[in-house]
Amino acid sequence: MENTIKHLQDLNWFIRPIADFILFLFTTKFGITLLITALVIYIIASIISAIQEKRSGSANGVSYSNKRISTIEMAYISFRVIGNTFLNIISKAPVLIATMLILFMIVGFSSAINTVDQFITNEKKIKELRVVLKHLNQRYKVAEFEVIDQQYLAPINNVNTTLKFQFFDYAETGVKPEPQTMTIKGNDIYFDALVMNFEYSEITSGENKNLTFPLKIFSNAVSRQEGIDLNFFDKDSVPYIFHRSEQEVVGISSLNFASRLKEILSWVKDEKAAKNAGIRSIYGNAVHVVVGKGSKNTVWIEQTGGLVIKSSEAF
């Protein structure tokens, strides 16, 4: 099957330009104008030739030398040539129709090869996207955070919390080495993320799945607008948690995995592409918990249910 497709693609390498040219001539305004112009030039050339023949007197084997031709005679010659041209066209209609049919068969054949090619490319793309989503849709830890300090200030209920975030990178050792430390006013800590929800999509085969990208931290006392951004993305703007090792990614090359991953991430900003991919909703989701000094919490992405935050001891 693959060999047949390959042969067809090779064949299309020279059929396609011909098909494109035929389509250009018969379906574009410019092409049709070119055809009409060619016909008009042919008719004019035929008229001039007929007039020249008449002038040189070579017509009908009788020799005249530079005979003057009246306007009426010129008009007659012109009409005769035009008439003959159209009669010629009509008399050769079966040949012309056959030629046209052959031309459009070439177009149809090329178009069919393109469709099959496009179908196979799309199938491959969908398969790759499915593999990428399958790898991203497992239940996994996003981050662990620990309260390393908490200071109560006057007035009552005014508290500063210092947190240490440890992110996970599943392409490396499982834990991203550099933790992020921050101090924020308040003690109810909101872990904010963007969620893309797939449903009834060709890619997810009708399963309800989410992709989540952590964004920032805010608290009961700090608005989201004034929250602290999480250093969660690598230099290519890919979240660390979406990194996968080559051994782990089965069914797709690591290069294709990275490229498809970027394609999925681009849907966040491209509503049309997101809709085409079957994404039903894009929204923010912040899970939060009241913390005390020394407490440890883990943020998990559930396979089907978005973000969940739990005390680390609970695991």
């Binding site: 308040g186 109810d188 909101y190 963007l194 969620v195 929800n197 989410n210 964004l215 805010f218 608290s219 009961n220 006392a221 700090v222 608005s223 989201r224 607008q225 966040v268 900003k269 509503e271 039903r280 909703s281 894009i282 929204y283 923010g284 989701n285 912040a286 899970v287 939060h288 918990v289 009241v290 559930e302 089907t304 249910g305 978005g306 973000l307 969940v308 935050i309 739990k310 609970a314």
Partner: protein, 197 residues
């Protein structure tokens, strides 16, 4: 002196006893609720909303609270300063299900503690009406009422496996559109979702 120590010890013992009883009672409540949550659907819609008006720094939104049979409980309009609308929920894990109670509405420009309390809008005689369902048992109703009272009084510290869950739009990516109806779906297997109707 001996008398004083004896009184002190009695007070300590009594407090410990009351505390122990209280914790045991709470555990029992949760356990009972675990056996009563079969009425919960996989997904329910506690609220729907519509942005009525939006200017540079203000949002006007209509929020409709719904029970599990999709009956309207109450509708209310809110005008808030901000660009992004945020709905906060209290989520508690009971057995393998999550129950989510809407608690606050606020915006990206408001610290959550300044948000508007939402519990009053679906509080019907102490029962969280969003969980009202044809199949709910009277026992589950009582237990949910107890749980709801703790949430309203902010006495949730002793409840295990609970967390806050807030959903919102993000102006940078996609804002809620004016005059479109949005539903917040609560998935009992975890997570909240906003969908456009």
């Amino acid at each position: 002196m001996k008398k004083f120590i004896l009184i002190l010890l009695t007070i300590v013992a009594l407090s410990a006893g009351v505390g122990y009883y209280f914790l045991k009672y709470q555990k029992k409540t949760i356990q009972k609720l675990e056996n009563q949550i079969s009425f919960l659907k996989e997904t329910y819609t506690p609220l729907k909303f519509k942005i009525l008006d939006r200017d540079s720094n203000k949002l006007k939104v209509a929020v409709k609270f719904m029970d599990m049979d999709s009956n309207e409980i109450q509708k209310s309009d809110f005008t808030l300063e901000g660009h992004e609308l945020m709905f906060d929920f209290f989520t508690i894990q009971i057995k393998d299900r999550y129950l989510s109670f809407p608690t606050k509405i606020f915006t990206d420009m408001m610290p959550p503690q300044e948000g508007v309390d939402l519990t009053q809008y679906y509080n019907v005689d102490g029962f969280p009406q969003i969980f009202n369902d044809k199949e709910i048992t009277p026992e589950a109703k009582v237990l949910l009422t107890e749980l709801f009272s703790k949430i309203r009084e902010n006495k949730t510290q002793d409840l295990k496996q609970n967390f806050g869950n807030c959903v919102h739009d993000i102006q940078k990516f996609k804002s809620f559109r004016e005059d479109y109806i949005y539903s917040i779906l609560a998935h009992t297997k975890g997570g909240l979702e906003i969908i456009e109707n």
